[in-house]
Amino acid sequence: MTEFGLRLAISLTQIAAVMGIVVITVLILTLAERKVLGWMQDRMGPMEVGPYGILQPFADAIKLFFKEDIIPAGANKFLFTMAPILCLIPTFIGFAVIPWGPNWTFEIGGISVKPFIISDINIGILYILAFASLAAYGIILGGWASNSKYSLLGGLRSAAQIISYELNVGLSIVGVLLLAGSLSLVKITDAQAGGFWNWFLFALPAPQIFAFVVYVISTVAETNRVPFDLPEAESELVAGFFTEYSGLRFAFFFLAEYANMMLVSCVAAALFLGGWNAPYPGTILALVGLPSFAWVENTMWFAVKTYSFLFLFFWLRATLPRLRYDQLMRFGWKVMLPIALGNIVVTSIAVFIYQQMK
């Protein structure tokens, strides 16, 4: 039983570390979004709290924490309370299979530990898709339980949108799975080692450029971000599914949205951009004689890729106006879906020919 206890302790430590990273990243993101938007619109962004406004996220968190928590009189209290939690948990669970660094193992007291991933399961990417699809429940139930027409419409819109675009996310990933021959994120990342020309975005025999574009657009839609933020379109629906939410429950929805953005960015980095692999073969730290510190360089590359992807979200928000609802649906089903399906056909043929030639 001591072995079980030790394993539990290691897992809990890893989970706590990953949770910490996610929450800190979300805090940084809330500030970064306002700053980036500010610069793009030629203004300063938040400047009051701390030097250059860097303590703004803490001020926001304290404000939300102490706000009055209102439950509308006609609301379904149980579901109204459950919805933000249902939204948050699936997103956080997904981080369990993200490889943050090299696929190392070392032994502690007879157990092999992988320091950079909580759980290396052989269906990693399906696991993420499965839990990502559950985030829709939080939004729909939150909209329905509020007992308000704006919330309900926002929730229903979100349901239709998430289902439509989730399909495209799943299909755009299939090409990568065909190239890697595995569903495990660790194996997929390992297959992209040795320079940026091996990343699945550019890799022969079938570069996944179209799949990447479909993935980016669909994830923006799936996380309800501008230009696909119809579930919370303020000019039509006040604030969509969280119109009636305030205080801590609103903070949960907010946290879930940003954590979800981070999750899809991590998946994009791992699937298309080589994960923790540097864009050149090997690592510089290993070359200068510090191979035991190479993981620092690798995790930094993962962070760089993830943050560049997150920057794209802010960039899109500052640039594009919102789509109309029918345009959104037509775009998803009549443009994105055929591209994703075509990519699967082309990739399978290319992989087949490549294997025959070998």
Binding site: N76, L79, I121, N122, I123, L126, Y127, L129, A130, F131, S133, L134, A136, Y137, I140, L141, W144, L152, G155, L156, A159, A160, I162, I163, E166, G170, L183
Partner: protein, 175 residues
């Protein structure tokens, strides 16, 4: 250990599936169906069929049940409208079910009590390594014909659904 998990998942599946039909609020029924689907996925994980578990959650919990909820919320069913006295049909369905379970529990034909090889030893060891690969290979070699027939039937059903929905739509617009 696995027996404890089986007990938990099996018990929850039984309880929540009863709640699906017993609860008065249709939204709660849909939610207990969601919990049930999750625990069925848990049963798959115990049997080392992780791929099936993930597909179960993605397809049923992630897509189909969301559409159920969608419809339930749009229709806004009154709680009483859902209940009709259908106990005669229920009785007719129940009789064979009760007979089946009696036969199974008493160890008659079809029972796996004595012959539990399929779960314990069987091809289990080989499949557990990468059951996604195993499922793919089996589908595209042994069961290729049924697989293709099933996909054709699904395609026809899909086209049928689109044709029916489209016709309705254009007629209502002409009116």
């Amino acid at each position: 250990m696995s027996l404890v998990f089986f007990g938990y998942f099996g018990g929850m599946v039984a309880i929540t599936s009863m709640l699906v039909v017993a609860l008065r609020n249709p939204v709660y029924s849909a939610l207990s169906l969601l919990v049930m689907l999750f625990h069925v996925a848990g049963l798959f994980v115990i049997l080392h069929a992780e791929f099936l578990a993930a597909v179960q959650v993605i397809v049923y919990a992630g897509a189909i049940l969301v559409l159920y909820l969608f419809v339930v919320m749009l229709l806004n069913v009154k709680e009483d409208d859902r209940y009709h006295s259908q106990w005669r049909i229920a009785a007719v369905v129940c009789v064979p079910l009760v007979i089946e379970s009696i036969v199974l529990l008493s160890g008659g034909a079809g029972s796996t009590g004595h012959d539990s090889r399929s779960l314990e030893s069987g091809p289990h060891g080989g499949i557990a390594a990468d059951n996604t690969l195993a499922i793919g290979k089996t589908l595209f070699t042994t069961y290729l014909f049924p697989f293709e027939v099933a996909s054709l039937v699904l395609l026809v059903a899909m086209i049928g659904a689109i044709v029916l929905a489209k016709r309705d739509f254009s007629e209502s617009r002409e009116l």
